[in-house]
Amino acid sequence: MGNVNLKINGLNVTAPAGSTILEAAQAAGIKIPTLCYLKEINEIGACRMCVVEVKGARNLVASCVHPVAEGMEVQTNTPKLLDSRRRTLELLLSNHDKKCLSCVRSGQCELQELCQELGVTDENYFEGETTHYELDESAVHMVRDNNKCILCRRCSAVCEKVQSVGVIGPNNRGFATFIGSPFEMGLGDTSCVGCGQCIAACPTGALYEKSNIDDVLAAIADETKHVVVQPAPSVRAALGEEFGYPMGTDVEGKMAAALRRIGFDKVFDTNFSADLTIMEEAHEFLDRVKNKGVLPLMTSCSPGWVKYCEHYYPDQLDHLSSCKSPQQMFGAITKTYYAEKMNIAPEDIVCVSVMPCTAKKFEIQREDQDAGGVPDVDISITTRELARLIRKVGINFRSLPDEGFDDPLGESTGAGVIFGATGGVMEAALRTAVEELTGETLEKVEFTEVRGTEGIKEAVYNVAGMDVKVAVASGLSNAKIIMDKIRAKEADYHFVEIMCCPGGCVNGGGQPQVHADVRNFEDVKAIRAKVLYDNDAAKTLRKSHENPSIKRVYSEYLGEPGSEKAHHILHTTYVKRTVN
């Protein structure tokens, strides 16, 4: 396809044929506001925020879906357009709960921002009948508040198209339209996997995680409790965005410092238990290969993926690794090994996790996740919640020094940190499994074939005379493609990594929300993933089995990977669920 020439606001612009007016304008440095538009996910031209004037066209056209044409003359900011957009906002506000002061999204709300930019001066300009909805608090991980919903359908498009789940969508029509689940089921009664991608997609405060910030503060204030915290690999790759750092800034040191100042007794690192996961999972893989166990082995680090598998592929659960996720392994080892070592009763330890994930709130409540006789992890908060917590307790994040993690559960290798990107778990596992299989030291630890943000990646590695076929998928619609192949016995993979969220945890549903203006034009997944790969490359130790703290846990406590004790503490079981 060639290029076409057009004029936007009198400027000569060249754009690839087939691109939209919005894309052509963006490339020319002209911003057109959008609201319902999410690139490749929700292109429905419904909200009318992105309208432009096209010479010769009868009506204002939606630039997000209108293709460019040769000789086209476009205006993006005439008084007529600015008026139309402001009127559209006023109409949205006529049936919107305008409680901005107490809204979790205030200050980061796309609707609020547009109202300010376009000069809405009377939020009640179109006063009239309004609808009122009960909050849907049925899900463990999140709240749906339809009173703040503007019916843009970004959430339902992500749920259905990106995640192949589709448990929320528009019901009824006209003024009675609302986003909900079938037959007014609560979200918690559906086969929602808890990924939180709907929250990441929402432009307003209609969708948000259940907050556990106050539980954290209460635990810290309780003198009888020993409170430890573990931030996941991806948190350090995105937390900075909440404090004005450019996307792609590694804030590991400031994050550790902030956690210490919040008052946690020990600041540990989920990267440590990511290394531990690799020890167990690589062992499990080699064991299945040697003993003709069920293959492919599939990773089980991502609780959204695990729940998806339980709902949609209950006949394929044997493929799932029995390894707990790094979050849960961390809690389990804290309340057994660490508790014994420190001589603290497991019930007096509160284990808090900071995760890029909302499904982790569900995971901590799962059965068979209580190695020390109490829940492995007590409280799981998202990256966003950590940012709110930091602000709430009055820490000036930007002026913090860089600090490290505490021993003995804070030491990690480069293999642990890349867990947060799609392909990272596979690469980390390969670094250990290949050395174990060949008995030789890897010359090059990078397995670049499994890197990158494509939805599905495949590679074959010849290891000790055996062709090891691996696949990596992220985003559940991609997982579905792999699973359908496996179910139809058309796949001959040995090892498959699945992450629920597109691009992996760096793009998780608990990460700082990215404005559509950025999300539509930047590869958020790649920018954040680079933080993790750079962090890995800068480390001396890059293989999980070389982590001295991990070696110590095995020599002092667990014995060998896959030992009976390791199984009791670090492994779990799954349940069959139905689709609703």
């Binding site: 589709g166 448990v167 019901n171 009824n172 079938p182 007014e184 689709v579």
Partner: protein, 164 residues
């Protein structure tokens, strides 16, 4: 807002299910199959309860919410069965000014259901309709094919009693 859960227990037969499966398998690989499947399903069952929507979802792989969204968007679909006696109250202009709104409200109260629903025993269903062409008799309601005109709220008990 339309009514959601059917008040009448589902009583689909084996034959109905077979007919539905046949329809689904004929249509499911076509683009835009959901609308004709829902229309035929409603022909077979008379309405689209959760049990029927679940069967369609399981067989087609279309998420339940998508099906429910379509079923609640179009007024041609109903989630409640029709009763043995289908009551339609005319809310057209002539009937309305003659007080058919009161008739409609009184029937909802007497039957314990709202418009669009069916009583749990499957006997009466209640709907509002537009002009039935008997404006001279306003306000008018129909029970199946029987027309009742010049109604007052006080007439309703006697009329309903005829169908007990």
């Amino acid at each position: 807002m339309a009514e959601k859960k059917a008040t009448v227990p589902f009583s689909g037969t084996k034959e109905q299910e077979e007919a539905l499966m046949k329809v689904i398998h004929e249509l499911k690989d076509e683009k835009g199959a959901l609308m004709p499947i829902l229309q035929k399903a409603q022909d077979i069952y008379g309405y689209l309860p959760i049990e029927v929507q679940k069967m369609i979802s399981d067989e087609t792989g279309i998420p339940m919410e998508k099906i429910y969204g379509v079923a609640t968007f179009y007024s041609q679909f109903t989630l409640s069965p029709k009763g043995k006696y289908r009551i339609s109250v005319c809310l057209g202009t002539a009937c309305y000014v003659k007080g058919s709104g009161d008739i409609y409200n009184a029937l909802m109260e007497k039957l314990g259901i709202v418009g669009g629903e069916c009583t749990p025993d499957g006997k009466f269903s209640l709907d509002a309709c537009r002009c039935v062409g008997a404006c001279g008799l306003a306000p008018v309601m129909m029970i199946n094919d029987e027309v009742y005109g010049r109604l007052t709220v006080d007439d309703l008990d006697d009329i309903l009693a005829k169908y007990e």
